[in-house]
Structure formats: structure tokens, C-alpha cells
């Protein structure tokens, strides 16, 4: 009896140590990355960085900032998120409500999971060849198309998970009122899932704004601010890359400052979506 008890305690302690250790490791990595970005980027941070486009000789240490990349990244990620949302919600609703359980649905899910796992450089290359076919040059539009391909599987699967959480009895009681599937989908399920939808959107946006490889060929890079869908745009991940690749320590510092800006944007969007999600969960039925 005694022996079993001590063994059980030992097991409990070991598991607790392992679990808290893993949590600490994950948190530690996050803090370390954030710390490094802040530590190295803060000295180069100033108002010009976020309000000015690069001036001539910026990459050898002359003045200016990365407003081109900030605005470019926002345009790219916002555009791609809107496209992925517009395509993703109907796909998820179709999979969850209309399609039922069939081979085809499982195949679509598998395809989405595979697409999720494909490296984004492949999307970039695919987007680039698509653009060549269409006679399009590296541009904001091309970047949005490639990025929305990156975001789409994330968006679809995340929304599907959110829709799965809608209680069956709720949809059932909606059907019992004589509603069509369309009405149940859009007027009941989407409303119930609204807070979760904002999380799905955030997830896709975060992936989109941080992706460098897919926009490398498709969106190009420029020192100018974005003005047209058909012109190249700069992006923050590429701004980090280009600045870090210079041999000048002062410019490398700016790379960290750019990374800091990127992190701050993602953080801001997270906080905003949390707030929105809280507001939207007012009507959610539990």
C-alpha cells in the first residue's frame, strides 16, 4: 500500500516537472526572441523609421525609414486575408453543412492539410509562373494572389474547427423552425461562430504578414510607397532580409528595428481581435 502511494507520487512529480519544463522552454524561447529583437532594434528605432520611405543610399546608412515596407505588408496581408476569407467561409460552410460525410469531403480536407504544409516558396514560384502566363509583372496584385494561397488552407481549416464547435442542438432547433440550410448556415452558425471567426482571421493574417518567400518573386520590392495594384510593393519580412544582408552594422540594426515593427503590428492585431472577439461573444449561446 505504502509503496504504491510513493510510486504514484513520484510519477506525479516527474510529470509535473516535465510539463512545467516544456512550458518554460516555449515561453523562454518567445521571450528570448522578443528580447533580442527589442535589444538590437530599439537603438535604431526612431520616428523616421516608421514615417519615411528609404532615401537614396538608405542601405549604406543614409536616412529614411521603412514606411514603404510597413504599408506594403499591410496592403499585402489585408488583401490576402480578405480574399482568403471570402473564399474560406463558403468552403468551410460547404464542408461542414452541405457536403455531409463523403469521400470527396475527406479528400478536400486532406488537400487543404497538404496545402497547409507546402513551403511558401512553392506558392511563390507557382504564383510567379501563373503571373508569367497572365503577363503580369511582380506587383501588389501578384503578391496578394500568392499570399492568399498561403492563407487559404489555414483559414478554411480554422473556420471549420470553429463551426464544429457550434452545438448540434442549436442547428437542430434552427432547422426545426423550418429554415433552409442557407439560413442555418449564414444566420445561425456564422453568428454563433463569430468570435471564433475573428481568431481564424487573425491566424491567417499573422501567417500572411510574416511570410517572406511567397512575396519574394510575386510582389517584388521597391523603395516607393504602394500606389497601384499593378506596381511592385515592399514588405517587412523582405525589408528585414535585405537590411540584414548588408555589411553595415548600422543598417543591420535597422533590420532588427523593422522586425520590431512587424512584431508590434502582429501584437496590435492580436489585441484588437481579442477585443472584437469579446464584444462579439455577447450573443453566443452556450
Amino acid at each position: 500500500m505504502m509503496k504504491r502511494n510513493t510510486l504514484w507520487r513520484l510519477e506525479e512529480t516527474v510529470m509535473k516537472v516535465l510539463m512545467s519544463g516544456a512550458t518554460a522552454l516555449a515561453l523562454g524561447c518567445l521571450l528570448l526572441i522578443l528580447g533580442a529583437v527589442v535589444w538590437k532594434g530599439l537603438p535604431a528605432m526612431n520616428l523616421d523609421m516608421v514615417t519615411q520611405p528609404p532615401q537614396g543610399g538608405y542601405y549604406t546608412g543614409a536616412g529614411g525609414g521603412i514606411l514603404n515596407a510597413i504599408l506594403g505588408s499591410l496592403c499585402l496581408a489585408l488583401g490576402a486575408t480578405v480574399v482568403a476569407l471570402v473564399l474560406g467561409v463558403p468552403i468551410a460552410l460547404y464542408l461542414q453543412i452541405y457536403a455531409g460525410r463523403s469521400r470527396l469531403v475527406e479528400l478536400v480536407r486532406l488537400a487543404l492539410d497538404v496545402l497547409w504544409g507546402i513551403p511558401s516558396i512553392v506558392y511563390g514560384a507557382f504564383g510567379f509562373s501563373l503571373m508569367l502566363l497572365m503577363g503580369l509583372r511582380a506587383s501588389l496584385l501578384g503578391g496578394i494572389i500568392a499570399l492568399s494561397l498561403v492563407e487559404l488552407p489555414i483559414m478554411c481549416r480554422a473556420i471549420e474547427e470553429v463551426l464544429k464547435m457550434v452545438p448540434f442542438e442549436l442547428t437542430e432547433s434552427a432547422y426545426a423552425l423550418g429554415t433552409t440550410r442557407w439560413e442555418v448556415a449564414w444566420k445561425v452558425m456564422v453568428r454563433q461562430a463569430l468570435p471564433g471567426l475573428t481568431s481564424a482571421i487573425l491566424l491567417a493574417f499573422g501567417r500572411g504578414i510574416g511570410d517572406a518567400a511567397s512575396v519574394l518573386f510575386t510582389a517584388g520590392y521597391t523603395d516607393h510607397l504602394p500606389t497601384s495594384l499593378l506596381r511592385p510593393v515592399a514588405s517587412l519580412p523582405l525589408a528585414v532580409f535585405f537590411q540584414l544582408a548588408t555589411p553595415f552594422p548600422a543598417v543591420q540594426e535597422r533590420a532588427y528595428a523593422s522586425a520590431l515593427v512587424l512584431t508590434a503590428i502582429v501584437l496590435l492585431i492580436s489585441v484588437l481581435s481579442r477585443l472584437a472577439s469579446n464584444r462579439l461573444s455577447r450573443y453566443v449561446v452556450k
Partner: protein
């Protein structure tokens, strides 16, 4: 107002879930504008029977339904029939209340809106009318814009009743509607059901014999998918003819 008379005729109803024969050759006539209680031990097919009447059973995977159910002349199980119309005419009050994820007002207005039932009346009037009918108006009239989810469970169930009635069904199916409510809310709901039966055919699934005694005009006893006995409430509950009904009423199986 025209008095509506919707009786339900069931002939040779069989329901299979995969290999389980859930309802076996059910044939019964449910009288119009009365409360018909379906009683029987859990797992006897009460809810399955109810869900066959409004075709909610279609949402279940791997189910086979055969036979004939006629509600006021409409053959409910015909493949060509419009399910949304069937469900509009046959309301449901579920075991646990699930209001729609919107305000109290929107919940009641939902049905009239999607079915276009306003007929010149304003939505405000309609909402008030049905909330009165469900006995909820006095409690919520000052906070119609509040989320329905914020109401107590008892209030939510009455809201669901108002929401169902607002669709103007002829038949109201109730699936153990008081099972998640406290005694006082249950009493409140039972009183509402008594009022409503003048214009509605009510089919009430219950496992509470006293509830059946209080509300039912007609009783159907199911046991393991078989219709054992049916008839006027007094006859079945007081003078059961079948040994299985007698055993159930004596409390021999739960």
C-alpha cells in the same frame, strides 16, 4: 381566427439506425387540438418518433425511415415534400432550450421574418404577442435587445416556446420540455402548454408520469420500439390493459 384542426395519422412507421430497429410498425392516430403524451422507458423510441414527424430525423446519419405519416392531409415522409414547409407547420420544443445567438427580440422575430408572416402587422406587435403567449413578456419587455443567452434556463425555454409559436405551427412537438427546468419553471411551462392546446395539436414526450396525468388527453405507451398501448389518457394511465404498461406504470422499469 379560424380554429385549426391538425390530426396526425401514422401507419406502419419503421425506423432503423444501422442495425438497430428503433421503431417497429407503429400505427396510431393522434387527435387534433389535444395533448398526446408519449410515455415509456428511456431508449424506447420516443424521441425518434417525434423527430420522424417533423423530419428532423433527416439530420441523423445512416437512418432509414419507412411507412406513412400524414399531418392534416400532407404526407410528411414523401421524398418530394418540402421539408422546410413541414417543419414550419410542425414546431419543436427541445429537451434543453437553445435560443438563437441573437437578442430576445430577434429570436422571436426570426421565424416571422424568414417565412414572411407579418401580414401587415408590425414585427413589434408580433414579438409582443408571442412573448405574452409564452408568459415571458412581463419579465423581458424592458430588455428585448439583451442577448437571449443571458436569460435563465426557465426563461430560455419559454423564449424557445415563443420563437416556435411565432412560426404559427399547427402541431407542436415537445421533447421532455421541462426536464432541464426547476420545478417552478416547469409548472409555468405546463400552464402555457394547457393554454396553447386550443389551437395546436401537442405531442408531448415525457418520462414524468405525473406530467402526463396533468396534461395529457391521449396517451401512447412505447416499449423498445413497440407501440404497446394507446388510448384516452384516463384509460391508459388508470386502467392499462397490457402487462408491460401495467409494469411500467407501477415503476418496474425506469
Amino acid at each position: 381566427m379560424i380554429r385549426r384542426q391538425a390530426s396526425i395519422r401514422v401507419r406502419d412507421l419503421n425506423v432503423h439506425y444501422n442495425s438497430l430497429h428503433a421503431l417497429k410498425n407503429l400505427s396510431v392516430d393522434i387527435p387534433a387540438n389535444q395533448v398526446t403524451a408519449i410515455i415509456g422507458p428511456s431508449g424506447c423510441g420516443k424521441t425518434t418518433f417525434l423527430k420522424s414527424i417533423n423530419r428532423l430525423i433527416d439530420l441523423t446519419d445512416e437512418v432509414r425511415v419507412s411507412g406513412e405519416i400524414t399531418v392534416d392531409g400532407t404526407r410528411v415522409l414523401d421524398p418530394g415534400v418540402d421539408v422546410t414547409q413541414i417543419r414550419k407547420r410542425i414546431g419543436l420544443l427541445a429537451q434543453r432550450p437553445f435560443p438563437l445567438p441573437m437578442s430576445i427580440y430577434e429570436n422571436v422575430a426570426f421565424g416571422p421574418r424568414i417565412h414572411g408572416l407579418t401580414n401587415g402587422r408590425s414585427l413589434d406587435e408580433i414579438v409582443e404577442h408571442y412573448l405574452q403567449m409564452a408568459g415571458l413578456w412581463e419579465e423581458v419587455k424592458d430588455r428585448l435587445d439583451a442577448p437571449a443567452a443571458k436569460l435563465s434556463i426557465g426563461q430560455q425555454q419559454r423564449l424557445c416556446l415563443a420563437r416556435g409559436l411565432a412560426v404559427e405551427p399547427e402541431v407542436l412537438l415537445c421533447d421532455e420540455p421541462t426536464s432541464s427546468l426547476d420545478p417552478l419553471s416547469a409548472q409555468h411551462l405546463e400552464a402555457r402548454l394547457k393554454d396553447i392546446k386550443q389551437d395546436h395539436t401537442i405531442v408531448l414526450v415525457t418520462h414524468i408520469l405525473r406530467q402526463a396525468e396533468r396534461l395529457a388527453d391521449y396517451v401512447i405507451f412505447l416499449y423498445m420500439g413497440d407501440l404497446v398501448e394507446h388510448g384516452p389518457a384516463w384509460d391508459v394511465l388508470r386502467h392499462p390493459q397490457q402487462p408491460r404498461t401495467q409494469a411500467y406504470l407501477a415503476g418496474e422499469f425506469s
